[in-house]
């Protein structure tokens, strides 16, 4: 564990130096802070606007922060040849990959936590000094959604270049979010459409399940047991990430650097 921790710590240190990540964080916080402005323009739905804009901003900024942080973690090590000085030491490749993943993910966690704190603080002051636990749950689900995305991005980074990885990861995230399309395809009479729907449903990660903004914002679309739903999604994120990382480790173990 000491080796994984050392690599993760080093990765956080390097990742936090990347200006692009800070730019996305500033954009995220800026969008969250626009909530009260838009709420003012729409007094009837000010609470809904504030909540939906806040969660969407965290999701969007989190998405870009996760991808730009994780796509470079391994390629930069190879390009700068720093990987030679690490893997020539008594470091197993799985330790290197897990260290990189944990470091990348902790960086994403710091960012989402920062945006989440700003968002919840804004709600606290806008909604009469009342803490909104359902919004905190929304931020937490975004956090686990990004954990899954980080694992997928790390997986792609073991087999492809950062540019291709960006589009692949972004694409998987988009398709995984189109749950309405997946539902339509799986119920389609057309065999091909049905097959595609089944593939997306069973193979690609169901990112859409983590987006509970609508259900949180509109209480009429309530989930019977919210806690069970959240636990189920957290478990899904952890299990899916573990499988993806296991495959990434197998591929990276055979990769020449």
């Amino acid at each position: 564990m000491g080796v994984i921790y050392a690599i993760a710590r080093q990765t956080v240190r390097e990742a936090l130096r990347r200006k692009i990540m800070w730019i996305f964080l500033v954009i995220g916080v800026f969008l969250i802070s626009l909530g009260p402005v838009f709420g003012f323009l729409s007094p009837k739905d000010s609470q809904t606007v504030l909540r939906s804009l806040g969660l969407a901003a965290i999701l969007l900024a989190g998405l870009f922060i996760t991808i730009v942080t994780c796509i470079y973690l391994i390629p930069v090590e190879i390009e700068r040849r720093t990987i030679y000085t690490v893997l020539s030491k008594p470091v197993q490749r799985y330790e290197f990959l897990l260290g990189k993943f944990l470091g990348g993910f902790f960086t994403v966690f710091i960012n989402i936590a920062a945006m989440g704190i700003v968002f919840l603080a804004m709600l606290y002051f806008q909604e009469g000094h009342h803490i909104a636990p359902e919004m905190a749950r929304g931020v937490m689900l975004t956090f686990f959604q990004m954990l899954l995305l980080a694992a997928i991005t790390i997986f792609f980074s073991t087999i492809t270049t950062p540019v291709v990885n960006f589009f692949l990861s972004f694409g998987v995230f988009l398709v995984g979010n189109l749950s309405s399309v997946t539902d339509t395809l799986t119920t389609s009479q057309n065999k091909i459409a049905h097959g595609v729907g089944q593939f997306i449903y069973y193979i690609l990660p169901q990112f859409g399940n983590f987006n509970v903004q609508n259900r949180l914002i509109h209480p009429e679309e309530s989930i019977v047991n919210m806690n069970a739903y959240i636990v189920q999604n957290i478990f899904y994120s952890l299990a899916y990430s573990a499988v993806v990382l296991a495959v990434a480790i197998i591929l990276f173990d055979r990769r020449e650097v």
Partner: protein
């Protein structure tokens, strides 16, 4: 003396799927390096030196063949704790100071805290990095300071075998000489150094044995003293009587003849005393004059160039 590195039939082929071509980077390499020696691994750019080192370190995988380091299979984690590597043109994590960098690498070797601190200090002192730079970001380091840091990271685990890839390239003369001396001093500590370098004068000075590799193939290996054996003698001769016939006779003694047009003279190289005497006698008999006779010690550069050119058919 025990064998530190033993390479048997090591081969690395790359296949270009699109061009349907096979490139042999290392071709059936057999080599043995003894413990405690500084071994020079020489070759042109792209000869297969770095590929060989990377295979030995488990960074890439051989197509065929095998190797052992300190008696254990290459890539083994136990072996990795006893060796170290300085790659060519390394960019370190430059947001770190030399101290933090060595601390990071020390953690990868699982060296306990207090011992790690002691070794960091020892390594930085050994490479003579100024103490005021120890806690400064590597980003602001000169090339020489970076190379010193690179060697220091290779010393952090007190390794038995060091792989150094061009450790002195691109340095100013003072830094160059200092780093060369540091590498040379490793031998006194009983360490084995596998040195890949284009600085043939350095190699000649500090290595006991060398291997010359070309297009992945081992051309020559041996003790430096053996490779450099046999002085050459440069003889400059001049004279109106040096007819074509004399010239042919001279060529029969030594084919190594260059015209010196400015002096209207000839420069010949003889390989031994007999050749030298024969040339001088022939020139005098032809009423020519011998202007100079200068013995030349062979250099590793000459040996290297001759070996490679011979292989290339030049």
């Amino acid at each position: 003396m025990a064998t530190a590195i033993s390479i048997q039939g090591l081969t690395k082929k790359y296949v270009d799927v699109w061009a349907k071509q096979e490139v042999i980077a290392v071709n059936n390499l057999n080599l043995e390096v003894q413990e405690g020696e500084i071994f020079g691994f020489l070759g042109r750019n792209g000869a297969g030196k770095t590929t060989t080192i990377k295979m030995l370190l488990g960074l890439i995988f051989p197509t065929a063949g095998d190797a052992t380091l300190l008696g254990k299979p290459m890539g083994d984690n136990v072996v990795k704790s006893m060796i170290s590597y300085l790659p060519e043109e390394t960019y370190f994590y430059d947001s770190m100071s030399a101290w933090d960098l060595l601390d990071f690498y020390g953690r990868l070797f699982r060296i306990p805290g207090a011992e790690r601190q002691r070794r960091i200090k020892l390594s930085l002192e050994k490479v003579r990095l100024q103490p005021e730079a120890w806690r400064r970001n590597i980003r602001g380091y000169s090339k020489g300071m970076r190379q010193r840091t690179g060697i220091a990271q290779a010393l952090i685990n007190d390794p038995k075998v060091l792989f150094l890839d061009e450790p002195t390239s691109g340095l100013d003369p003072i830094a160059h000489a200092e780093l060369r001396d540091i590498v040379a001093s490793l031998k006194d500590e009983g360490k084995t150094v596998f040195l890949s370098s284009h600085q043939l004068a350095d190699v000649e000075l500090i290595c006991s044995r060398v291997a010359i590799i070309h297009r992945g193939k081992l051309l020559r290996t041996g003790q430096i003293t053996d490779l450099l054996a046999g002085e050459r003698t440069e003889i400059v001769v001049k004279g109106a009587g040096l007819s074509n016939g004399t010239l042919q006779n001279l060529r029969a003694i030594t084919p190594d003849i260059e015209p010196l047009e400015e002096l209207q003279a000839l420069k010949l190289f003889s390989e031994d005393d007999n050749q030298t005497s024969a040339v001088i006698d022939l020139v005098r008999n032809a009423k020519g004059s011998v202007i100079s006779v200068v013995p030349h010690k062979r250099t590793l550069e000459q040996v290297f160039v001759e070996t490679v050119r011979k292989e290339e058919g030049l």
